[in-house]
């Protein structure tokens, strides 16, 4: 499908197309927006997100760089210092690691170390996560690294409309944004009215994707469809699950999440990245801190195993699926045995 077709807004668009459209519109609106990365020019990126940009805006606006991620991000820092708004494409999550020092030591801190004199309006697009049959090093979930780095925003869209709206917001942000694009949702399609992108609020706002009363599933990015499916399946079990899509990991929308958990009293965090040291720990700890009185059961986590990402033929065993989510929901102490146990167990 061509960009023109997407623009018409009549046909459903893929997430990849919506992202491309966001880049295009941002570049058209603001001449300081520059796209750079490996194969973003003539090829249009390995996921075709930048398709057509070099042709429309020229190679100086959408630039195939030499193959060196630290160099790309480092150059973006300098471009941002000179007033441009670079949008960097990392080809795959694991191939962002060479740029880690530039990211941590410069991108995330430049505003702070210069007392605001040198902002870093840099967007780093990272195709991330698994589930696409990618070979080794092509399916990492690296959000824990970014979350643990103060000064970054971390965004992960899960819907076609969010992909557009959040990428526009990321590019418009005066702060660096790690923009995590769930690879397995690139080809997800949705009817989406490109003429009304303003329906997506800015970075830092979670959304309730499905209201429910029994328990809250807290998720984002590639795990949203899993949670939605689990919520539908749960109806048969008598559970009415609420699904919260975080959209941003940083800033973290505590308000929306805690409001939901206070209402439901039970929560499961679902994500694809390894559980240990992953985002779920922070989320569960934070929700527990803030909502302890309202919890009928501990906040549980359903995540990838604590292993290197497996080869494609085994990845289905690693990725959290509907069954694991439902299993966790089932463990949310529906009989409230805890009420007594909590008092007895604590006896000292």
């Amino acid at each position: 499908m061509t960009t023109a077709a997407v623009r018409s807004g009549h046909k459903p668009a893929t997430m990849a197309q919506a992202l491309g459209r966001a880049l295009r519109d941002a570049m058209a609106d603001d001449p300081s927006v520059h796209v750079l990365g490996e194969d973003v020019g003539a090829l249009g990126g390995v996921f075709r997100v930048t398709d057509g940009l070099a042709k429309e805006f020229g190679e100086d606006r959408c630039t195939d760089t030499p193959l060196a991620e630290a160099g790309i991000l480092g150059a973006a820092v300098g471009m941002a210092m000179y007033g441009l708004r670079p949008v960097v494409e990392m080809q795959f999550d694991a191939f962002a690691y060479p740029a880690f020092e530039q990211l941590i030591s410069h991108v995330s801190r430049m505003r702070n170390r210069t007392r605001g004199a040198v902002p870093m309006p840099v967007t780093v697009r990272v195709p991330y996560g698994g589930g696409i049959g990618g070979v080794e090093h092509h399916s990492d979930s690296s959000e824990a690294y970014y979350m643990a780095t103060p000064g970054l925003h971390v965004v992960a869209p899960a819907t076609v409309a969010d992909a557009y709206g959040l990428l526009r917001a990321a590019i418009a942000s005066d702060d660096p944004v790690i923009f995590l694009e769930p690879k397995r949702l690139y080809w997800s399609k949705d009817h989406w009215d490109a003429a009304h992108p303003e329906t997506v609020p800015g970075i830092g706002r979670a959304v309730v994707r499905r209201p429910g009363s029994s328990a809250t599933l807290i998720t984002y990015g590639p795990s949203l469809p899993v949670c939605m499916e689990a919520a539908e399946a749960a109806v048969a079990e008598g559970w009415d699950l609420e699904v919260v899509d975080l959209r941003s990991l940083v800033p973290f929308d505590e308000e929306t999440v805690c409001a939901s958990v206070r209402r439901t009293g039970r929560a499961v965090v679902v994500h694809e990245s390894a559980g240990f040291g992953g985002p779920g720990g922070e989320i569960a700890a934070r929700v527990t801190e803030r909502c302890f009185h309202h919890l009928e059961a501990p906040v549980l986590r359903v995540a990838g195993f604590d292993i290197p990402y497996p080869p494609p033929m085994l990845e289905q065993h690693h990725l959290p699926g509907v069954d694991r989510v439902l299993d966790a929901v089932a463990r949310l102490q529906w009989e409230s045995q805890w009420t007594s146990a909590g008092h007895e167990g604590g006896a000292r």
Binding site: G41, L43, P66, V135, H138, P312, H317
Partner: protein, 383 residues
């Protein structure tokens, strides 16, 4: 004197008495790629070697074709073909001794097969049943490496370790033109030169890093010229001339083995196929370019030499093609079998000793699998 003391390396004494520097001129690579086939020098080449190279080239081409076909049949997740680059692959697979180590990139499965690896093992990564399909120690082939250029410092460390132990081991490390832009390329070459490690760096310049052409990758006269900045020799060779690549690599290996340190070799070749089966090369290059390179095909070049010198006849060539077909048929047949997979392997080799945490997770998966198996059995019974 320790292995690390480097007589003659950069140590300027205080002025005005500047120490004489190494004359850089001999370090400069030739401006034109070194070639043998079709030149007078080819007459001196060992016919047995030429015939061996030819057989491997023919088999290599067939291997590339078969592997690509397997992607269409869903038997490989992805295949980065080395069609057109077989001279480089074959030479790299042949120049090392058994005790030496090869450090391939993801595109170099053919080199590993030429070195003796079972093609099914070589293709495991790309089929997707495990990451590394072989025991690296068995054939002294490091895991096929996806993160670009990251295998180069490994080669340096291994070669350095072998040298420290007094072992006669050379490491040959392969990288693409695109990979030379990564910081790891730089760091590896620098370490190797400072440590005088027995390493050969082999850049297969196939004109593209996916879609990105050379002019957007470097402004250097050639990749071989990068050697100057590390104080090592750089050699430029016609990467489609199997005899020339074999000779240049062999010399570099000999040099490393003799204790003279690393060499940077650039072979100029061309990626005839798309980057992988998933790539659409029409987006970034013209067919005419491919056709021009087809006229400089590594098999044709060697075939012309062999037939011109009557070292092979039609029957001989047919025999090689038949051998290649047998290899392809065997590969096809074995790759068409589903690999045996054990999901519990996910947890087996994360650590030497499984942690309690992983044991718990393994138990959970085992229970899931058992439950799924039971319900599958029940369903089967009900039908």
């Amino acid at each position: 004197m320790t292995v690390l003391e480097q007589p003659g390396s950069y140590r300027p004494a205080p002025p005005p008495a500047w120490q004489p520097r190494t004359d850089p001129a001999p370090l400069l690579p030739d401006a034109e790629p070194y070639r043998l086939l079709g030149t007078d020098a080819a007459a001196g080449l060992d016919p047995a070697l030429l015939k061996r190279l030819y057989g491997q080239l023919v088999r290599g081409r067939r291997y590339n074709g078969q592997a690509t076909a397997l992607t269409r049949q869903g038997r490989l997740a992805v295949y980065p073909s080395s069609t057109g680059q077989e001279a480089c692959q074959v030479a790299a697979g042949l120049v090392l001794e058994e005790r030496d180590w090869l450090f391939p990139s993801y595109r170099d499965t053919l080199a590993t097969v030429v070195r003796g690896l079972d093609p099914v093992q070589a293709l495991t990564l790309l089929r997707g049943d495990w990451h590394t399909g072989y025991d690296p120690h068995e054939h002294r082939i490091a895991p096929l490496c996806t993160p670009l250029a990251t295998q180069l410092p490994h080669a340096v460390g291994l070669a350095h370790a072998a040298r420290l132990k007094g072992d006669d081991v050379v490491a040959l490390a392969m990288v693409g033109d695109g990979g030379t832009s990564e910081g790891d390329f730089h760091e590896a070459l620098n370490f190797a030169a400072v440590w005088k490690a027995p390493v050969v760096f082999f850049v297969q310049n196939n004109g593209f890093a996916i879609s990105v052409p050379l002019a957007k990758q470097t402004a250097a006269p050639s990749f071989a010229h990068k050697a100057v900045g590390y104080g090592m020799p750089g050699r430029l060779v016609d990467g489609n001339d199997a005899a020339a690549v074999h000779e240049v690599l062999s010399e570099a290996v000999r040099r490393a083995r003799g204790g003279a340190g690393p060499t940077l070799v650039e072979a100029v070749t061309y990626r005839i196929d798309a980057h992988t089966n998933a790539d659409d090369a029409t987006r970034y290059r013209a067919d005419s370019e491919i056709e021009a390179w087809r006229a400089h095909d590594p098999i044709d070049l060697l075939e012309r030499e062999l037939t011109g010198r009557k070292l092979i006849d039609e029957a001989g060539m047919r025999a090689e093609r038949e051998a290649a077909e047998r290899l392809a048929a065997d590969l096809r047949e074995r790759m068409n079998q589903d690999p045996a997979l054990d999901p519990m392997d996910l947890f087996t080799h994360v650590y030497a000793e499984q942690t309690a945490q992983l044991r718990e997770q393994a138990d959970r998966l085992r229970a899931e699998l058992a439950a799924a198996g039971e319900s599958a059995t029940q369903e089967g019974a009900q039908r």
